[in-house]
Amino acid sequence: MKKTGAQILWECLEREGVKHVFGYPGGAILPAYDALKHSSIHHVLVRHEQGATHMADGYARATGGVGIAVATSGPGATNMVTGIATAMMDSSPIVCITGQVGSKLIGSDAFQETDITGVTLPITKHNYLVTHADEVARTVREAFYVARSGRPGPVLIDITKDAQQSCCEFDWDAAKPQLPGYRPDLSPAPEEYAQAWELIRNSKRPVILAGHGILVSGAEREVRDLAERAGIPVALTLLGLGAFPASHPLNLGMMGMHGEAWVNHTIQDADLLIALGMRFDDRVTGNLKTYASNAKKIHVEIDPAEINKNVKVDVALVGDLREVLHELLPKVETVDRGEWLDYIDRLKGDSAVRDIQNLPDSGHLYAAHVINDLWRETRDGNTVVVTDVGQHQMWEAQYYKHEQPRSLITSGGLGTMGFALPAAIGAKVARPAAEVWAIVGDGGFQMTMSEMATIVQENLKVHIAIINNGYLGMVRQWQEFFYERNYQATPLLNPDFAKLAEAYGIRSMNVKQRSEVVPAVQSARRHEGPVLINFQVEQEDTVYPMVAAGASLHEMIRRPSSIVETAADE
């Protein structure tokens, strides 16, 4: 049957299982919007195209499916750049669809013409320029396949206006992907498994480094089997949180720049690192020259380009994590590693049993308290926490205990401020039954807060917890440590967030006291619509411990003794 490129576009998206897209219209994409009325797909109107990309990203991370963002040419497309780069760094499968000027006008600097495939070349897994209606179907199918297979990532499809308007014969079955060079499905050689078994058998002090790849591959069960069978403790990356239950006795917690001291010491003292779906980012290794220098390394990773990139490994098992672990597990021997686990317990000392909940109420409100209380209140639910970037993000990672996969969504690789609110919207659209909380700094919130309007227009119950410290807190912390407290350009004069929320039609609360935290959270949960809580926290609080950029992983700036002493008082 003959259809326009625009009709084919929506029909292909439907066939790929798309129920929602996040977008913003404009001239070059208007033919597509015109054809939307015949589609079953629900379009969420965003307030800025960056928001659309983060929503698509949040949608993808909440479910494992592909998220879709739509924008017009020129400024619409360039507004997507930050969201695309964010998705690229965190291997999130999104497909971005942009309108482009007519194919005859390409190269002429026509109104709103931007070479968006050129711009996004290094920040997409792949991208396409479509100039004919008859290329639409195959391109969409390829884009979905590339976005979600192998190491997932963003794919952009730029469709000229005439390709949307003109007609051609539409045949889904004939429009099959043609990707002769694309190899997403690698698997290790048998001898590589043998080497891995050997290293695991001989190790006295092994650690599993659990990363985002576990969630992407759906290998939570297998990782747990490996840890339990071989008695191996598990340290997690920021994006790995939730891949291994926080309450599991073998869970050490988050590693890296703001990981607890015992986690980083365990890694430095290990004789074997088993890295699962993580890429030895500089935020988790610290100085590479001194990183786990006595440890052999096994790297299970789907992307061969990650092998030996930052850390040289002894055995690389390149393939899908879940499949690799299925092969690996049967021959992993049960070993008692009591001595090693006892040693780690001693490293933990009393800090592991210290319970922030029991810290005396000094009259000040600390972000850590807010997050810990929020966790206690929401831990039993089907909760998804979406964080922005900064101190609050690290406190969330430290004090919210994630038991479930995909219960934390955060921008790790790019560290994109402004991510949380739109990504939370995407997560809520994807999982309407989940309780979604955006935990966001007073700085980052103001980067994308216009999406409050999207929350209201879509009638979404997304809760917003602003950790309001009156500063670009994480930058202030760096200035405190490394720039002699020269607080240049970090104090914030903020609007009245509560009033702002009310203006959008979102209920709001101000919280200044520790005692008000739990009632506020409970009241938000009971409310049928979205709620914004403005937590006015201690202004010059600091995230501890901290490995300074470039320092060795074991050289941490520890919590000052005043804090530790208070903890010992309990």
Binding site: L121, L129, L179
Partner: protein, 185 residues
């Protein structure tokens, strides 16, 4: 160490940019890059030389494979290969110098392809060091202009690295539907 990669890519618009952009993005410095047609119209062949140690070379290969349009990558640095560069060299050659220049050209088995009262243009094909050698001896006469193509390379012997025959077959396999796409070579 200078590594030589032979890279087969889909002959589509923008693929050269993708490859070049990858080297720039990962901060690898391309020494030379040539691209041309192969016996299959849908496939182009690149010869890329780049300064890299062993691990870097491995990562370049892996990163090239991440480009969706790349079909096959071979690092032939350690293999017996025929490597050829082509140069055209315009040398100042007035009356008395002319016979010397001609003699040098013939020693290097180079050909004179253009003659003018003031100059000779010499074409030479060969390994890079042979061309460097000719250039060295011509320089005293005055090199007016010079252009080199960059190297092309091919393995010696009957073994072909060519993924070409199965390319269409692979496209068919990939076409079998998303679930059962087999994209491995």
């Amino acid at each position: 160490m200078l590594n030589t990669f032979v890279v087969y890519v889909e002959n589509k618009p923008g693929v050269l940019t993708r490859v070049a952009s990858l080297f720039r993005r990962r901060a690898f410095n391309i020494d030379s890059l040539t691209v041309g047609r192969t016996e299959k119209p849908e496939v182009s062949r690149m010869t890329i030389t780049v300064d890299a140690d062993y691990d870097q070379a491995r990562r370049i290969e892996a990163n090239l494979y991440k480009l969706v349009n790349v079909l096959l990558v071979e690092n032939i640095t350690q293999e017996a290969a025929i490597v050829r560069d082509l140069a055209m060299i315009k040398v100042a050659a007035t009356h008395e110098a002319r016979s010397h220049v001609l003699e040098l050209a013939s020693v290097f088995r180079a050909r004179v392809v253009d003659v003018s009262p003031e100059s000779l243009t010499i074409e030479i094909t060969g390994a890079e060091d042979k061309i460097d050698g000719l250039l060295d001896v011509l320089r005293p006469y005055g090199v007016l202009e010079m252009v080199r193509t960059g190297i092309v390379a091919m393995r010696r012997g009957s073994k072909s690295s060519v993924p070409l025959a199965p390319v269409n077959g692979l496209a068919q396999a990939a076409a079998a539907g998303d679930e059962d796409v087999s994209c491995s070579v």
